[in-house]
């Protein structure tokens, strides 16, 4: 299963690309509109891209009334990414969006590096959302958590159905001559190839901690089928594409076919059979 990482594709400007995915993950919605951060918002670094968008979005009401109906016209599985500054914010969005049959999954963005973090703990937010919605809830976690596996088991106990691993890492790029930060907000989210081993480690340890019983969307620097297969072997049940989509509109189809080939080359009939291959078998 190949998805996009939230915030890395707009299905309304590029429906053909969205349709080449198994599900479309919308950009994070917050209760109120957010204008996003000041320019500049992007800077390339060695091995990755730094962004500081700041969860720009039209807010829940406009999204619900104007954007969601257009996304529904795509007639494909929709995942909606949910943000906020406290548990009540997240719950409010989950309750409202969760009532739509068209929405398959609510992904809780518990880890945006470009906004001030929610004061509430991840498990508290998940529990508040679980109380108001029966939809599958995926918790998107930061790779900077000191013990991501502990947080992962906490959110699962609180009612999360799955995990999205990982969001970007905090990074800084300086101008080569002035030595000032390239981004207006100085620090931004670092994604791309450099995130790959970080994402693999997060997926690996969360798969182990949840004993392979929880669906995991692996993401971070996936550019090829082999990168996707690595995440699946570490424990991912689905893979999301992020910054690769910016320069390669054919990436979903390419990664999917490369993934099948790479899995077959290693004796797996289907990529899903490789899930957890990086782990020793669990003791019975």
């Amino acid at each position: 299963m190949i998805l996009n990482a939230s915030g890395c594709l707009d299905a309304l400007t590029a429906p053909r690309v969205a349709r080449s995915l198994d599900a479309f993950v919308a950009k994070t919605i917050t209760p109120e509109p957010r204008p996003g951060n000041a320019q500049p918002r992007l800077a390339e670094s060695d091995f990755g891209l730094l962004n500081s968008i700041g969860l720009q979005n039209p807010g829940l009401d406009v999204f619900y009334a104007e954007v969601l109906p257009l996304l529904e016209e795509l007639e494909m599985p929709l995942w909606i990414s949910v943000g906020g500054s406290n548990a009540a914010d997240y719950a409010r969005i989950c309750e409202r969006i969760g009532e739509r049959d068209s929405v398959d999954v609510l992904e809780l963005n518990l880890s945006c590096p470009n906004v001030d973090p929610a004061a509430a703990g991840a498990a508290e937010i998940v529990a508040a959302c679980r109380a108001v919605s029966g939809k599958p809830l995926y918790a998107k976690l930061s790779p900077q958590l000191p013990d991501i596996a502990e947080v992962a088991t906490g959110v699962i106990e609180a009612g999360a159905s799955g995990l999205s691993l990982v969001n970007s890492l905090r990074g800084l790029v300086l101008d080569e001559w002035t030595l000032e930060p390239r981004l207006a907000r100085a620090v931004g989210g670092y994604s791309g190839a450099a995130l790959r081993p970080v994402a693999l480690a997060a997926v690996f340890s969360c798969y182990e901690a949840t004993k392979g019983t929880v669906p995991i969307v692996g993401m971070g620097g996936v550019q090829s089928g082999k990168h996707a297969l690595d995440l699946i072997a570490a424990g991912a049940s689905a893979v999301a594409l992020g910054s690769v989509l910016f320069g390669d509109l054919e990436a979903p189809e390419r990664v999917r076919s490369e993934l099948e080939e790479e899995a077959r080359a290693r004796g797996f009939e289907r990529p899903s059979e490789a899930r957890g291959a990086a782990h020793q078998p669990f003791a019975a």
């Binding site: 915030g7 400007t13 590029a14 429906p15 053909r16 918002r41 992007l42 968008i53 910016f246």
Partner: protein, 240 residues
């Protein structure tokens, strides 16, 4: 309007023009689009492509004016004839060129869309401003243009009276142009990772609203956006 296409193209020439480089590519079946529209050019070894206005669209060729401001643009300037690069476009919204009393106003690298615009519009009046004499060498791309160098500002060359301004240049220049010609069509610039509305990197505030320059611009006050950009229809057209 031409649908954007992603293609690989051979470099047919690369020439220094003052501090800029004019990168010429074989056009093949690519449509140049409208003046003010842009292409995303892949840069070998870099993760995301970079946006460039279409500068010239002579027979069989597309040309882009590159300002070497960082590692990626410096590498583009070093590419040699015969090498191949990927590009994607035309993207964004271009200038309305069917205006009655046109005046083209360019500042610095903001001259980039105007050689092509001048060709399409039948040599309208053009004023160009540059910081340095070396930058100003780019004015040879538009031989009939009136040119000034700082401390004189390009806005001093804008005549009074009713005119339809098409402008491209640094943000302070665009604000100054707008103060003189409130209905001016302005081409803005911001870092961009995708060119098709995905990354929200190129958002600017204009008339109280956030605009993604890649889909609603780069020319604001120009043509209305045409969405969606990348649809199934495009495949059918490309395949026909």
């Amino acid at each position: 309007m031409a649908s954007p296409r992603r293609e690989s193209r051979r470099i047919s020439g690369s020439e220094r023009i003052g501090m800029y480089t004019l990168l010429r590519l074989e056009r093949g079946g690519l449509e140049p689009g409208l003046p003010g529209q842009f292409f995303m050019l892949d840069v070998p070894g870099h993760i995301v492509p970079r946006p460039f206005s279409i500068c010239l669209a002579e027979k069989g060729e597309l040309a882009f004016l590159v300002n070497p401001v960082g590692p990626a643009t410096r590498e583009l300037c070093e590419l040699k004839r015969g090498q191949t690069i990927g590009l994607f476009g035309p993207l964004g919204n271009g200038f309305r060129t069917d205006v009655e009393r046109p005046l083209l106003v360019g500042g610095g690298i903001g001259i980039a869309p105007f050689p092509y615009a001048a060709q399409i519009m039948g040599n309208p009046p053009i004023v160009l401003g540059f910081r340095t004499r070396r930058q100003a060498e780019a004015a040879k791309l538009i031989p009939r243009a009136e040119v000034c160098i700082e401390p004189q500002l390009v806005t001093e060359l804008i005549p009074e009276g009713p005119i339809d301004v098409l402008a491209c240049g640094p943000e302070p220049m665009l604000h100054a142009v707008r103060a003189l010609a409130p209905d001016a069509q302005l081409a803005w610039e911001a870092p961009m990772a995708c060119g098709f509305g995905a990354c929200y990197g190129c958002v600017v505030e204009f008339e109280g609203k956030s605009r993604r320059l890649c889909v609603e611009g780069p020319v604001l006050n120009g043509r209305p956006p045409v969405l969606p950009l990348i649809d199934d229809q495009e495949e059918e057209e490309a395949g026909s």
